[in-house]
Symmetry: C2
Subunit: 418 residues, 2 copies
């Protein structure tokens, strides 16, 4: 039996759960999409209906009802750029840098990305899984319901595969959805010093096919930068990745303008990430090809950078802006999305609505998941968070508070605030 209501939006007959008396920012189409005195229905793992309270059927029968007491429901955060799996700590390096140590001093003391590579290579899979699953639990308590995870602290076949295997285990063990990216071309391993083309050959000829065979990543990422890999090397990795059927993404124009963005956009990249030094030409290529701009204010902040990404280009060219934690131990030990929203607003000048769209629907776009994640719309996954706030802007405005009540993922309550 189909229960119809006096809304034009028919109430489905297979509803399992209702969330009633809520305010909602649906974030559909990248806008707040605010609804007040509203309700949301879940059928199985999906949102099946959204509408005003007065459009509900008169009786809800056996449907489980959660009264939201006028609290806000927003889509779960989609964190589209993390390096969540690592071993070791870089707090000492942070402290040394503040005390005046140079990069050379830090390198001599065993710091920098290679300290993370060394610790990650040394850690066994269970230890990495244990460390990473605790980070996933923290993310859950911060309302992050979808997490992209990159490899890239192995820089050798075995460790890259180990990291991706850990990501696969997280997908099974944690309530969140995990999207896995192979980032073998993250940095040049010391063993290949002066032979970066040889390392790229290893990535292309050995690592990529093996990752494909094991089916443990959906996207391939490269760090295109003067301290990492060139445009030409990036192209080689992307050509092979595309031939194998991977989606592609790029760390681009973080510290200088290599114009990797134009290359990646023209090759169909889902996203280009960082983008502080992006040129207008690069931005136009992104617009032409529908590439998402992923902004990472945590890294900008921790590295004490001064040049912000060209937000006006993104606005004028209607390039979707995502925001993400970039969680990593070196440049962004940021364990939640609210600090990122706050920094996106205060450091990069995004509006609250832009920042929230960046952490939801545009984060989903950057992972090619916008058909099922990132907004509250019938047919999408029932991934959402109930917030005890006065206005969605509170999620950008407040520091040191996560005023979250419930996290629902795939229709299941995954976390309830104690």
């Amino acid at each position: 039996m189909i229960i119809t209501s006096h809304s034009s939006n028919p109430f489905p007959d297979n509803v399992d759960q209702m969330f009633t008396h809520c305010r909602m920012a649906t974030m559909a189409k990248g806008n707040y999409g605010i609804m007040k005195n509203a309700a949301l229905a879940v059928s199985g793992k999906k949102i099946s209906w959204i509408g005003p309270m007065d459009a509900l059927p008169e009786t809800l029968g056996t449907i489980k009802v959660t009264d939201c007491r006028n609290q806000w429901i927003l889509p779960g955060f989609v964190d589209c750029h993390t390096h969540l799996i690592w071993a070791g700590s870089r707090a000492d390096e942070f402290e040394m840098r503040l005390a005046g140590a140079s990069y050379a001093d830090i390198a001599r003391a065993g710091g920098g990305i290679f300290s993370t590579v060394t610790a990650t290579r040394a850690a066994d899979e269970d230890m990495l899984f244990d460390l990473a699953s605790r980070r996933m639990a923290r993310f859950l308590r911060q309302g992050i319901t979808t997490v992209e995870i990159k490899s890239g602290y192995g820089l050798d076949l075995d460790t890259e595969l180990k990291m991706l295997a850990v990501a696969g285990r997280l997908q099974k063990a944690c309530p969140q959805d995990v999207s896995t990216t192979f980032l073998g071309a993250h940095a040049l391993p010391p063993k290949f010093a002066g032979r970066s083309d040889d390392y790229i050959k290893e990535v292309v000829r050995i690592m990529l096919p093996e990752v494909k065979d094991q089916g443990i990543a959906t996207a391939v990422d490269v760090f295109c930068e003067n301290i990492a890999f060139s445009r030409d090397q990036t192209r080689q990795v992307f050509e092979k990745a595309l031939a194998l059927g991977f989606a592609i993404k790029l760390h681009a124009e973080q510290l200088s303008d290599s114009n990797g963005t134009a290359l990646a956009a023209q090759m169909g990249a889902l996203s280009c990430d960082h983008l502080e030094y992006l040129s207008l030409d690069g931005a136009r290529k992104m617009a032409d090809h529908g590439t998402v701009a992923v902004l990472l204010p945590g890294a900008f902040y921790y590295l004490r950078e001064t040049r912000i990404p060209p937000v006006e280009y993104f606005r004028n060219l209607r390039i979707p802006m995502a925001v993400a934690t970039d969680l990593n131990p070196g440049s962004s030990p940021v364990f939640g999305m609210m600090p990122v929203l706050n920094m996106a607003c205060l450091l990069f000048g995004l509006t609250c609505e832009e920042a929230l769209a960046g952490a939801t629907i545009n984060g989903a776009r950057a992972l090619n998941l916008a058909d099922c994640k990132g907004s509250l719309e019938p047919g999408k996954d029932a991934d959402f968070v109930i917030w005890d706030v006065d206005t969605p802007a509170d999620l950008c405005y407040l520091t040191g508070i996560t005023p979250l009540q419930n996290v629902v993922i795939g229709g299941k309550t995954a976390y309830v605030m104690a």
Copy 2:
């Protein structure tokens, strides 16, 4: 019976509790003062002994023992500058500003400090107490064990007294110690537009004596700035405050150099706070008179300021630097000390050790409480926090995590992480 150990530091005979197998940053004298494989004894409300594990008596008898499993103990945070009592929200104003609204637009929409004044005047004492006690509970979960609270959102006698009465109730109801400051001269109330001298007269002749009579504040603060009160007006308030026996403090040189600092230092102020525009002359006066520099990076960050306080002056002149949340709804909705430590390091360039000294022993100095708060030393109050971190620098380095295990205040466990 006095139990002696083979340490030169005699073990007292009246120990109630021991915290064993810990690492410690005592923060005594403003340094880390790190001890490893150590223990701390509590007698009543006080720390009575600190020493190495191998200096403990062979048997501890009936003493209650907490094994810290090598976790770190640091002094509880002393937050020496907050405006913790208010009603209303300014998230909308934050959002409007990011969306391009001018200060005039915001004022027309009823925003700015006077929106907080209006809401605080309208709220009854119980409502203010309820709002503020929730903030105190958040502070407790962040390891803040001593809290300074200012009035200043009343700007009329009744509301200023109401705020200070709420602070008094918080002192009784919350586990933290509260230090209360009268800040009647925070802003010019609209009723006195164009007549700031008249308002200062009201502060001096009516409010200060009444606050003194009621015994509900220990210090008096003024906002000396071109948008607030002049040096001469500040002097009038301070002269009366000193005559009545209050300690004095100053909001100084935040947005411009009024040289209020020199005045306050010469009059014996405990601290001058903000100080972005402090001159070398002002700094020298602080050094001459032992005034503490209270740095408030939250307000700097939220107001998107660019000029940082002259940290080199403080270092060179050996002026103690405190750091504080400046918790307030307009310019620093920062509900914890870790974000402040992080900003003090990354925005102001403090070392981790300086930032941690700022949030402990130097915060205590800014409240004239250094004889009993702010460091782990025998004879001081047993106010401390057990942290699940690798190094104290983690407290400055991490964003979005509060890796706290236990908070002890006056020898009592006030909070245990769930």
